[in-house]
């Protein structure tokens, strides 16, 4: 699977877009993570207005076999959540990098150790 070049990646398998004009980035989980989880059946997202912290739990992803914490790849305030994935969690599997995005974040601080697409591909190879 290919990881889009224009995104940044965390070692917890989230992706993050570059900030737009308002300083807002979009967050999702990678295709690699979605595949590892299996069919996702329930997504609990943070609420709009929540302050989230890089590397800390901000929701959960439930698949057929397991439940996993959702981490935020950066710190900031949640400005929007993707209602489409709460209604249809399978979007995270079928369109991890597009329609299956999870929430938008006005980033206050991004960790220095986010990975590029190539670095993330290398990271997930082993």
């Amino acid at each position: 699977m290919s990881n889009p070049q224009h995104l940044q990646y965390s070692k917890d398998h989230e992706w993050l877009t570059a900030a737009d004009a308002d300083g807002v980035s979009t967050v999702g989980i990678t295709e690699h993570a979605a595949t590892a989880l299996g069919d996702i059946v329930y997504v609990q997202l943070p609420a709009v207005g929540d302050i989230v912290t890089a590397g800390e739990t901000c929701g959960e992803l439930e698949s057929t076999k397991s439940v996993s914490d959702l981490y935020s790849p950066a710190s900031g305030e949640v400005t929007e959540v993707n209602e489409a994935v709460t209604d249809e969690p399978g979007l995270v599997n079928s369109a991890a990098f597009e329609g299956g995005w999870l929430f938008k974040l006005k980033v206050s601080e991004a960790p220095a150790d986010l990975l590029s697409a190539d670095e993330y591909s290398e990271f997930t190879k082993s």
Binding site: G38, E62, N93
Partner: protein, 376 residues
Amino acid sequence: MSPRLTALDALHRALGATMTDFAGWDMPLRYGSEREEHLAVRTKAGLFDLSHMGEITVSGPQAGELLDHALVGFISALGVLRARYTMICREDGGILDDLIVYRTAEHEFMVVANASNAQVVLDALTERAAGFDAVVRDDRDAYALLAVQGPEANDILASLTEADLPALKYYALLPATVAGKQVWLARTGYTGEDGFEIFCAPADAEHLWQALTEAGAPRGLVPAGLSCRDTLRLEAGMPLYGHELDTSLTPFDAGLGRVVRFDKTTNGGEFVGRKALEAAAAQAESNPPRKLVGLVSEGKRVPRAEYAVVSAAAEGESTVIGRITSGAPSPTLGKPIAIAYVDAAFAAPGATVAVDVRGKHEPVEVVALPFYKRAR
């Protein structure tokens, strides 16, 4: 220790399977979407590699008597070419494993143990064979095991064998030729669907897999992994060792007391665990301990194994009344389901209890098992 690989390992990888360690074996978890594999087995057919299951052959003039002594079932009364679901218990009645025993000849039986317990079962049978004119043989490496399960299974098999499938009843087996290979063809399975389990030489497994895939593809057959096998058996209310069954429980605790046959006529009616199981049977009758029930949730959060079952949704007013043994989103019902041991007072179908899902109490309804039963 590196995991054991089945004879179909290269094929699974070529199919892009997600592999998982299961009881020391590297097994296919799923090939694509486990939900789609599950639904294919319910509506068409699925093809499974179950080569991790542990085959043990017991043969000799007293093979039946040995199994009557070693297991809780009345195995010597089983007809030739018939199969039975049974258990092996400890002296204290605790379940060592649940098994299927196939009678392959007058003096020969194939005992199929769970992968995780195969060595334990082999050791126990070997020890319990002392004094019987019978031989216990480890045949784990002698067989690969494929399963074709689903409403199309019969027609798929029929296109590959001359065997008389209509005459092959549920829980029976036949020596047969399938796609040119000699196999044991059994009408058994763990999905709640009609289907077949095919015990073959490991060297023939790939040929059979390919033949079944070709014959089955037009009928909707897909390769199916252990993940959907688990949701299928859960819907069908079938126990899984390590979840619904373990050494701390007797067959009566698990609601499976019917597998214990106190009416055996061999060995003077004695078998390993008899005394403890009689006590367990009496207690189940007079003062049942926790009962195994089904739970259905109207919510989206899934009750998982080991979560507490509580008496009411209101926190602070509720007490723990049981624990979940297995839980998953049910692809067939479209809602979360679970199996749980709950106090007998809360075990009646229709009762509303709750599950502590990571601190939040989710209401669930108690239902009778199974969740799913195929139309016959």
